[in-house]
């Protein structure tokens, strides 16, 4: 497993970039915590899935992408668009089902999408967004741009047929795609050992003639380095790669669940490798940021989220008629949809 926090390559990234990595990780952590509070207060319909303790596995990957690169994700959906640079106001309003939400209240927590930053949607059907990312890579290839597409999926989706079809297709068509598995060890309650034929998901790359690498998902710079290498390979026209980031969610599959399937010792051990704390230490020890600067970074993130929460709470709920918008590009009148109203 690659772990390269001390690698010399980070010197080329520059302090502003390194600060931005930590800012986005903090933004995901605190966005999820704010969302959890709002959920407990009854402001968020249905369920939310947090990325707590998985932030490095997300941000290390998204920071290796350009804004015009594409990305699809899954039901654990808040972190991906935040990592890609989406405005948290529209995301928070979406969680609250407001008409100012990024998806106008039609998607919600599991299905965020922000096309303005290349976020093509988070699929609530596990594994289903992976072929879509391959299509974005196909489009970039046919149009002759150097864009790439990254598909986030979990260890559960690693066993879904469409993911394998997508990997084979990207390989035979040599597409600029990155298959990126956040392996957090559990498909809701089912541990990977009882569901999966390999210990390392990255071993599956061999079956599709592409490079596969497993990386420490708590080490944001290690994640960044392997993703940047896969992105560079894709931009050079050399085809897809598979990356597996080993990580762990310290909160439940979804907020409000209390399931008994993990040992507390295991959760505690992973919590000790909190990716944000690890990177805090690195930023200070490498003289990239001072402790004081880290405090002000946190205050900056808090202010951004204060504004996002206010924006969301102050926004209107959609009018019932808005349910009839956005189905087709050339809208039909509501009367054509049938049903008694």
């Amino acid at each position: 497993m690659m772990s390269t926090t001390d690698a010399t390559f980070v010197g080329d990234l520059g302090p502003e970039f390194l600060r931005e990595i930590q800012r986005r990780m903090l933004l995901i952590r605190r966005f999820d915590e704010r969302a959890t509070d709002l959920h407990a207060q009854g402001h968020v319909p249905a369920v939310i899935h947090t990325s707590t303790n998985q932030e490095a596995a997300v941000v290390g990957a998204t920071m290796a992408l350009r804004e015009d690169d594409y990305m699809t994700g899954n039901h654990r959906s808040h972190g991906h668009p935040i990592g890609k640079g989406s405005d948290v106001r529209g995301l928070m309003a979406e969680l609250l089902g407001r008409s100012t939400g990024i998806c106008r209240g039609k998607g919600g927590s599991m299905h965020l999408a922000d096309f303005s930053v290349g976020s093509l949607g988070e699929s609530g059907i596990v594994g289903s967004g992976v072929p879509v990312a391959v299509g974005a890579a196909l489009s970039a290839s046919v149009r002759g741009t150097d864009q790439v597409a990254l598909a986030f999926f979990g260890d559960g989706a690693a066993n879904a047929g469409p993911v394998h079809e997508a990997m084979n297709l990207a390989s035979v068509w040599k597409l600029p795609a990155i298959f990126y598995c956040e392996n957090n060890g559990f498909a809701i309650t089912v541990p990977i050992a009882t569901s999966t034929s390999v210990v390392d998901i990255s071993d599956r790359a061999a079956g599709y003639s592409m490079p596969g690498v497993t990386v420490d998902g708590q080490d944001v710079l290690a994640v960044y380095e392997v993703t940047a290498a896969a992105v560079a390979r894709a931009r050079r026209g050399e085809g897809p790669s598979l990356i597996e980031a080993k990580t762990y969610r310290t909160r439940e599959h979804a907020e409000g669940l209390f399931l008994d399937y993990r040992d507390q010792e295991e959760i505690d051990a992973w919590a000790k490798r909190d990716p944000i704390k690890l990177f805090d230490s690195w930023l200070v020890s490498s003289d990239t940021m001072t402790a004081k600067e880290l405090v002000s970074l946190r205050a900056e993130v808090e202010a951004e989220l204060d504004e996002a929460v206010s924006f969301a709470l102050d926004s209107e709920m959609p009018a019932p008629e808005e349910a009839f918008e956005d189905l087709y590009t050339n809208p039909l009148p509501a009367s054509r949809f049938g049903g008694v109203r």
Partner: protein
């Protein structure tokens, strides 16, 4: 169906040429591939073009735009969706409509829903073409008529053209449309031939066509049932019954105005549809007309469909299952008595 069957073609102006259904598909595709570089095609055995609808395409348009796929329906359907969301206009040739089921999640959960779930951020301009193979001993894995099944999925547009003229004009519209379109092509129509204009034309969605005018009974015919309905109308005319044959051509959106206008004239309705009876397009037409104009109906409408049964292999069992001219004529006679 004869050359004269399609009442809508105005060939009084301009020159024409005679094509069959498959050649009309090829013409639609080649014209749109030449017109717009963002149009690409993919499918199993596309390069070899088993049925001729893409013959010569690889040579003219090259391997970036014309792609054979592995047998990975979910994978390549999803790839078409992602490509459509990011600037291309894919045409996916599914060959046989039952192969759509292997891509069901991509069609229903992604193609039909991404625009809606993203609050209108996505446009998904793609065409899934699917042949409805039935009537020739292919048995249940290749013989479905699933157009009605997909009508229950909001977000898809669905066309079922029945003549060379209609398939060319509607397929060109489908390729230019910014939403996902399923195009169902019944194999029994492949040898239909007629003269079509040399000049370019398009047919808008939601605009049906009266294939034969009449005053006594309306026969709404879906897909492969259309030529049978036209033949039935000829038989009925010998008995002094004037049947109007109405082909909606696109199932989503549906030309309700045309059906309502015809039924207002005739007060009698038969719907012929090769789909299985339950939740067929025929069921939807009968239900909608009955709700909207119950008081105008002189008799209970009748559906002529395939029974709710799988398609058997042996010809003696298969032959009698589908709507044909005799069944449609008998149904029309029933509603005339009703």
């Amino acid at each position: 169906m004869t050359d004269a069957a399609s009442a809508s073609i105005d060939t009084s102006e301009g020159s024409t040429h005679r094509v069959n259904y498959l050649a009309a598909i090829r013409e639609a595709q080649v014209e749109e591939l030449r017109r717009d570089d963002s149009v690409i095609m993919m499918g199993e055995d596309l390069v070899a073009s088993l049925f001729g609808t893409a013959s010569g395409f690889l040579d003219e348009f090259g391997p970036k735009r014309i792609r054979d796929t592995p047998i990975s329906e979910a994978g390549f359907a999803g790839a078409a969706i992602g490509a459509a969301m990011t600037g291309l206009r894919p045409i996916v040739d599914f060959s046989v409509s039952t192969f759509l089921y292997s891509a069901m999640d991509q069609i229903v959960s992604q193609a039909a829903k991404i625009r809606y779930m993203s609050g209108g951020q996505a446009s998904i301009p793609l065409v899934f073409r699917a042949g409805e193979f039935f009537g020739s001993g292919d048995a249940a894995h290749h013989s479905d008529r699933p157009h009605s099944m997909f009508m229950t999925v909001p977000g898809l547009k669905i066309i079922a053209p029945t003549t060379p003229y209609d398939i060319k004009g509607l397929l060109k519209t489908a390729i230019r449309d910014d939403d996902p379109v399923l195009c169902f092509e019944a194999k029994t129509l492949w040898n239909e031939r007629e003269h079509i204009p040399d000049d370019e034309y398009l047919i808008p969605f939601g605009q049906g066509d009266v294939k034969r005018e009449g005053t006594d009974v309306t026969i709404v015919a879906i897909g492969a049932a259309v030529p049978h309905a036209v033949a039935a109308a000829a038989t009925l005319s010998e008995q002094g019954i004037s049947a109007e044959v109405v082909d909606p051509r696109s199932l989503v959106p549906f030309d309700w105005d045309m059906v309502f206008t015809s039924v207002a004239k005739t007060s009698r309705l038969v719907v012929a549809d090769p789909a299985p009876l339950t939740c067929s397009t025929a069921s939807e037409v009968v239900a909608t007309v009955t709700e909207a104009m119950f008081g105008d109906l002189a008799a209970a409408p009748v559906r002529v469909t395939t029974p709710d049964i799988q398609i058997p292999f042996s010809p003696t069992m298969e032959a009698g299952l589908y709507p044909d001219a005799a069944k449609i004529a008998a149904a029309a006679e029933r509603v005339m008595k009703g």
